[in-house]
Assembly symmetry: C2
DNA sequence: ATGGTTGATGAAACTGGTTACATGTGTCAA
DNA sequence: TTGACACATGTAACCAGTTTCATCAACCAT
């Protein structure tokens, strides 16, 4: 029973005519109801209802100059880390009565520039991006449009855009130090594609010049659980077996963990594994993953606040460094310690029939 | 060196004046460059640049009647399943030159209605929602605004909105049948909050009246890995130990898996575990998770297409049923079989130093 | 009765684009 | 030389709202 009337949507004038008032009065009913006489208001509201009138967002926006939404450009939604950032950003933006438009870039600066253009075209009031590397077209776009844009996932007060993030190099170093503190010297480092990801490069660079100097071997795989599995297998087939695996991301660490178990290698007894991110699930893996916590929720909220205030006050927000910290759980142990770790492979006790 | 000029953004008239042409010509340079003489075009482009002019999306929208973005209302971004749906939706929408605005509802119909209102207010051209249960205000909103809205994550051709999804009851039944086929009769069912989630309820109802009739015990926990762990522990403490655990979601299954391992219970030897969703990581867990695949990527893409076509042609799309299928992996085994499964706890072979 | 104030409403200008239509110029065939 | 026509450009109306300012009636104090 489709009503095929190519019904032209009613507009404010139609409502005004139908209610027998002026357009100004209708507008007032929307924006300042208390200034309209009760009887008049009622008439207008009835007219609105009977015409199924919904005000045009565009027409409002043209007057206020505000569209009330901002865009976020993230590499992918498949990594829980970005989902987390967006989740907290979205909820914080909501408190500023702002909505969030999401665009994924697949780590490709060209796609990023295109999607950014698309966001500007549809009227985004601000932008959130991830990482330091972007296409020249991207920079010229935000330059000419003077669009409030904050860059996240890293911290650099000297960057051309305000940054809100953590020190990736330091986070990686924290993880490495934890391993060397536990006596590990031969360490496998698992990381995602470094060519297309500056944060990965920053993390790798944080491993340089460490003292005591460890013997690092690098494994580059796709940034996914499957990639982690792949790395886990490759590590086991290497000539010199490392005593610990340092994963530059928790998803990789999860994959490594699963694969080591699959291959019968006990963690942390035979090998320690450390991650970096601290995803919500990481605390519940088996064994519970030792990792470096990255404050991504706070980062999302901070980015939301920064953009909102920039949009509202026109003042460029200060860059902000969020600290990351080591979370020691059950997947790392001192070298040479066999069976000594309290949580790992706890014997089954009194369950079962 | 902030330029504190409270610079009013340049508009089309300013550009026209600066270039010494009419507004129509400037507009043409934007929309039909080939109709403008080369020299003129150049003049105009220079004026645009020097004034840092970016056309107002709102003003464009007011003429075209199009804002070029649609909204998606999902319970949360923290569950990988919704991240997946949104990811595929976003990329498919991009092919229709549409952007995606994301709003989370936290499974709360009131929040959902509010956020929906927000999306309509900022001009969303269409909406995607999840699940069958919504607030009356929500329905009246989409009714009066006549907003193209598709409902996902379930299938019901009789629903008031077109649905694009799978049969939740059937998917759960598929999982259960797999377990009974393997000889399991005493089965623990782990699920998320049912009160606030109709899909969970549908899945539970799919378990009813099964033949052969299994002995089911239900464990309701938060829909998270932590919740799964909790359920895993609770199951082990139950009086009658089930031989299999049916999780109505893969995140729960992951948690159960981790916890069982932590407690020294071997899967699938001592207990089989089956999930429902088939998240990308599930294939790589240890042991690889047997689950029922839900075509969420296809669903996201289908929803994007449906909304796009509805917006463009004004024709209500047909509801669409996507089928789900069993994916047998390593976490389930026949009852009574000890050590017989090929993948589980394979002995460590020739690795190590 | 007069003037001042308040409250409710309307007329019209305005936002920043698009576009129908009009105008003016140059080229070419008759 | 003239008419036809294409091409480039301009004028002004238009989209759907908001907002300024004016108007007018009612009320109250003088």
């Amino acid at each position: 029973m489709q009503r095929n009337t190519p019904r032209k949507r009613a507009n404010l004038r139609d409502v005004a005519a139908s209610a027998g008032v002026s357009v100004a009065t209708v507008s007032r009913v929307m924006n300042a109801p208390e200034t309209v006489a009760k009887a008049t208001r009622k008439k207008v509201e009835e007219a609105m209802n009977s015409l199924h009138w919904v005000p045009s967002a565009a027409a409002r926006a043209i007057n206020s100059g505000r569209t009330r939404f901002v865009g976020a450009l993230v590499p992918t939604l498949d990594n829980a880390i970005f989902a987390r950032v967006l989740a907290s950003m979205e909820s914080r933006l909501a408190t500023h009565r702002l909505s969030l438009v999401v665009a994924t870039t697949d780590n490709d600066p060209v796609q990023e520039a295109e999607k950014a253009k698309g966001l500007v075209d549809i009227g985004a009031e601000g932008l959130m991006i991830s990482g330091v590397t972007h296409a020249p077209e991207f920079y010229s776009l935000i330059e000419r449009s003077q669009l409030p844009t904050v860059s996240t996932s890293f911290y650099d007060p000297g960057y051309r855009l305000p940054t809100i993030g953590y020190d990736n190099a330091a986070a990686a170093r924290t993880a490495l130090t934890h391993l060397t503190d536990l006596g590990h010297r031969r360490i496998a480092v698992v990381h995602g594609p470094s060519a297309s990801n500056d944060r990965t490069r920053a993390r790798i660079s944080g491993l340089e010049g460490h003292s005591p100097k460890p013997d690092l071997s690098f494994f580059e795989v796709q940034l996914s659980i499957a990639g982690g599995c792949e790395a886990g297998l490759a590590i086991l087939q290497a000539a010199d077996q490392p005593s610990a695996v340092l994963c530059l991301s928790d998803v990789l660490a999860s994959g490594v963990l699963f694969e080591l178990q699959r291959q019968g290698v006990s963690v942390p007894h035979e090998k320690s594994v450390i991650g970096l991110d601290d995803l919500v699930g990481s605390a519940h893996l088996f064994p519970e993953l030792t990792t470096v916590h990255l404050p991504v929720s706070r980062m999302g909220a901070a980015a939301a606040d920064a953009i909102a205030s920039w949009v509202e006050t026109q003042k460029i927000p200060e860059p902000s460094l969020l600290n990351s910290d080591l979370v020691v759980r059950a997947s790392t142990a001192r070298t040479g310690t066999i069976g000594g770790h309290p949580v790992a492979r706890r014997a089954r006790t009194d369950f079962g029939k």
